[in-house]
Amino acid sequence: MDFYQVFQQYTWDEIRESIYQKTPQDVIRALQKSGKRDLEDFKALISPAATGFLEEMAQLSHRLTQKRFGKTIQMYVPLYLSNECQNICTYCGFSFDNKIRRKTLTEEEILQEVAVLKHMGYEHVLLVTGEANQTVGVPYLQKVIRLIKPYFSQISIEIQPLDQDEYEILVAEGVHAVLVYQETYHEEDYKKHHPKGKKSNFQYRIQTPDRLGKAGIHKMGLGVLIGLEDWRVDCFFTALHLRYLEKRYWQSTYSISFPRLRPFSGGLEPKVEMSDKELVQLICAYRIFDEEVELSISTRENEIFRDNIIKLGITSMSAGSKTNPGGYVVEPESLEQFEISDERSPQAIASVIQAQGYEAVWKNWDRLLQ
């Protein structure tokens, strides 16, 4: 049985109703529990009933995160390789129907970009592409990984979903982590947001973490794009997915991201707004639900929010990011995936982290361990 079959045992509307029916008593029970919190507890923690318990949730999340991860924040940076994409996605700057010139970095250009990232101090890098199998397929990625491996301690990728044997190839090349966001678990609306291209196959995408687990990946990243649908329901399914995966692929580490929809040229406005308060509630709920999962925050969020979130449960941060291929030096004006919100340098962010009583960790892996 794969996750798609598990998923089919649930209906969106029933889950939604049961989340919204949670009471303050359910929240208190979840908070006071001494052992592992279950999915019902998670529903209570993300429910509207929990909004009155935000400070208690934050305190608990803070303590649990420090116990597991210490007073540290892992630093990582995205490296966009290409904005070519055959998919139409209503919310993404790289969408096929967005008629803007496309760019895929050459090896020489990649090394120029890498030099900038190394100067910033980065050891952990996240490679990002659109889905264009002719130009940025597995052979291209293999080449890129071989090219940049000497410069980084840890390489993660955020690319189109692949088959198990393709993941096995990339793992053998030295990929440590793969991030594949479901975008939304609302199967019907998923098809509205992804009308064309391989990405329109909901089932193949939702089964991706299963393929990754079977390929023996060290770490996989889950998440939904917040703003497409009711975030509470989408995040319940993320938690369900996480727990399913942890039981089956027990040798992998997991991370969760919670990107809120950001503006881009010609793009969609969020259907459902999520407030800062609600994002804090979600981060704390994930932490209380799962003490070991890594929680990541990108430069989509603004300065004040990022400064204050450091202590609340997150474990990794990016900084100084560009979301366009060549954005660091080669072609700063190329098409970006979304506008970033926090433009401060990695060193400035490291100082902020330090001021909060935490250490910015640049290296926590070694390519020799791969």
């Binding site: 116990k67 040798q251 009583g357 935490y358 020799l368």
Partner: protein, 254 residues
């Protein structure tokens, strides 16, 4: 009072870790306060290329011996490779062997650990394996030549104390190599308890690093370990389960 492991003699029976501190300088200060002479460092945290501003530069004190660990590896093969890299990078043949294929609870794999330990001893390493509190595994590791065993008190990072106490007692009773209780020690009282049981040393990280005042906590652990060891050497008075009976049953024999 001193402890001998392989070629080294330690005055302090408190071993410490280097993770989770809010800064490298605070880590340094806390370790110095704790008096620890053996400090474990994850190979994955060490910069093998650039030496400046590296975690190691904060540990360059005559009193501190480095104990590289293999955190992050998932099997014996990876562990052996990492050990060789560590030996070269950190210039020591001492090794904390930790193989946890389970990244959630970081539970050590007993089968892979035994395999790797046997090989690493042959390669000339001083091997200190991190393991479950499994008395039979400890004997098997002893037979392949490890320098000490490091059974866990409770899940790593949990601060739950000596949940495995019954098995630790058996290990301490049976072991012919030093026993270092590693993982789960959450408070100085846990460390003192382990030492009272007869553990040769304890390894503490999270409880110091995540405390509000790591330097003071380092010192508190130093005292607790010393007190526990002194109590062990002084021999604890036997614990009485009940008061001595006032109506003896055998007076008729007199």
């Amino acid at each position: 009072m001193s402890l001998q492991i392989a070629d080294k003699t330690f005055q302090s029976r408190l071993f410490t870790g280097t993770g989770k501190f809010s800064s490298a300088s605070l880590m340094e200060e806390s370790i110095l306060a704790s008096g620890s002479e053996l400090v474990t460092v994850a190979l994955k945290r060490v910069s093998l290329t650039e030496k400046e501003d590296d975690i190691l530069s904060y540990l360059q004190h005559d009193c501190i011996n480095l104990l590289p660990n293999t955190s992050g590896v998932r099997n014996a093969k990876e562990a052996i490779f990492a050990a060789q890299v560590a030996r070269e990078a950190l210039e020591t043949n001492w090794l904390k062997l930790e193989i946890h294929p389970d990244p959630k609870y970081l539970m050590p794999d007993p089968i892979e650990t035994l395999k790797a330990a046997e090989e690493l001893v042959k390669l000339g390493f001083v091997v200190l394996p991190y393991i479950h509190a499994d008395p039979v595994l400890c004997k098997r590791l002893e037979e392949v030549g490890v320098a000490a065993v490091m059974p866990l008190g409770s899940p790593i990072g949990s601060n739950k104390g000596l949940k495995t106490i019954d098995f630790l007692e058996i290990i301490i009773e049976q072991s012919r190599v030093p026993v270092v209780v590693d993982a789960g020690i959450g408070a100085p009282s846990d460390a003192a308890k382990a030492m009272e049981l007869g553990a040769d040393a304890v390894l503490v990280n999270t409880a110091i690093a995540v405390s509000e005042n790591p330097v003071q906590m380092g010192l508190a652990f130093k005292y607790a370990v010393e007190a526990g060891r002194m109590a062990y050497e002084a021999k604890l008075a036997p614990m009485q389960q009940q008061a001595v009976s006032s109506s003896p049953l055998t007076t008729f024999l007199n």
